[in-house]
Amino acid sequence: MFRWQTVLGVVLGLLTASAILSLTGNAGRRKPNSGPILSECDGRLRELVIHYEPTAKPMVAEVYRDFLGALEADVTVYVVCPEDTVYEDFRSLLGPVKCRLSPIVAHHPITTWSRDRWVALAPGSNAEPTTLWMPRGEAAEEIWPARAGDERVGHDIAATLGPAVHPRRSSFYFDGGDFLADSKNVFVVPRVLQRNIQNTVRSRDEFLGTIAAEFKRNVILLAESPDHHAGMFMASAGNNIMLVGDPIWEENLFPSNSWMASQPKRMAS
């Protein structure tokens, strides 16, 4: 028979443990509520993430100088780099800029492509973090160390930016650029369905339902599109206006003997 002191001690211990676990459990277990996918054409830029990887320097240096040099002082740019020294190299190539730059050092290989690593979902409320919805895996990661590193970038960003950002792994395969959103809709290119149907999801309806629930927008799955990321051929301009690139139209704009008419077509309508 237990002594009353022992019984009381056990009760107090369990109560204490419950209090501790409920506090840590709230921080660890609860999935933050996420809001809709960020629109690409509404509001002003406040924060953005770019990657810098030295082998891509010839390709990106001028672009980054032009783009970052045009940003205002109230914009924060997080620069994901594989190592600290790479960030120093980035700063030296950039020159003076008005925007705020902040490094996120991954300590593993990455590629220079930031757009496709995750999709930003707005906070569910003022108290919630931004969610980085990451693909299940990266194409070719099994043979490409930098792309395998890309798969971890969402966590690297969250580790640096702390409770303001929450990484969440999707069950779907996708690139971030496969989606294009405005304030009401999200357009989805066909190859996302192709990558997932009878792979991660059994039916088109299941796929669309999950996308709609995740993005909290009207989902428009394009029946046909160039086999590219959405932003390569369309851009949302707000007010239900979508700009669509169609090289076939150039035939009507330029004489047949012009230089433009002589250039090879890059995309079929």
Binding site: Q5, V10, G13, G25, G28, D116, A139, L193, Q198, D227
Partner: protein
């Protein structure tokens, strides 16, 4: 209650709390990481059309390696209590290892496709053999997809679904997207992307 009682109560309480927290805290912390288990991918993709289920596999004895012509078995199962007839297209595409500076994987190129009309009795199961009339190139990743097509559509030539259009420029259409039933590769497992790039460029 004396001092001895207090010591006993405190000791037991601390021990109980420590054991309880240690037992359950690990699970809670792990739940906050990227450790929420994802649903497994579908091991045997299937295409279902008009009551017929189809799955795809490499034919027995076919090793799917560079230099050899692949062969596939399409298993069809009529789930209906009445005869079924349908037309299916198998398409094999290939994609090269991606350039390290490329944003996305290279556009797949169609290597082979074949249309076949399938006739099944009520609840019949039948396996059809397809022999791709093309040797597998080295250093490529392949996908073989199944697509149910309109039985009344005119037959198309091999290798180019839209006559006169460079397959590389052809838009991706949901109506022509099949279910990928089989994926395999002739890329050496130990190779690095840069090594593969040196071997396959220019495309």
């Amino acid at each position: 209650m004396n001092t001895k009682d207090l010591v006993t109560i405190t000791t037991v309480a601390l021990g109980t709390a420590t054991l309880t927290v240690a037992t359950f805290l690990g699970n809670i912390i792990e739940a906050g990481n990227d450790a929420n288990p994802l649903a497994p991918t579908i091991a045997r993709p299937e295409l279902v059309a008009d009551g017929v289920k189809m799955t795809l596999a490499a034919s027995a004895g076919c090793e799917l390696k560079a230099g050899e012509a692949p062969a596939f078995d399409l298993q069809t199962v009529n789930t209906l209590d009445k005869p079924a007839e349908m037309r299916v297209r198998l398409t094999m595409t290939a994609v090269s290892p991606t350039s390290p500076l490329s944003r996305m994987i290279a556009m797949p190129v169609e290597l082979w496709h074949e249309d076949r009309t399938i006739t099944l009795g009520p609840n019949e199961t039948k396996t059809l053999a397809f022999n791709a009339a093309t040797n597998l190139p080295a250093n490529k990743a392949f996908s073989v997809s199944m697509l149910a097509i309109d039985p009344t559509a005119a037959a198309e030539g091999a290798g180019n679904l839209v006559a006169g259009t460079d397959p590389k420029l052809r838009p991706l259409s949901l109506s022509r997207l099949g279910v990928v039933g089989l994926s395999f590769s002739t890329v050496p497992k130990a190779a690095t992307p840069n090594t593969q790039l040196a071997q396959v460029l220019p495309q």
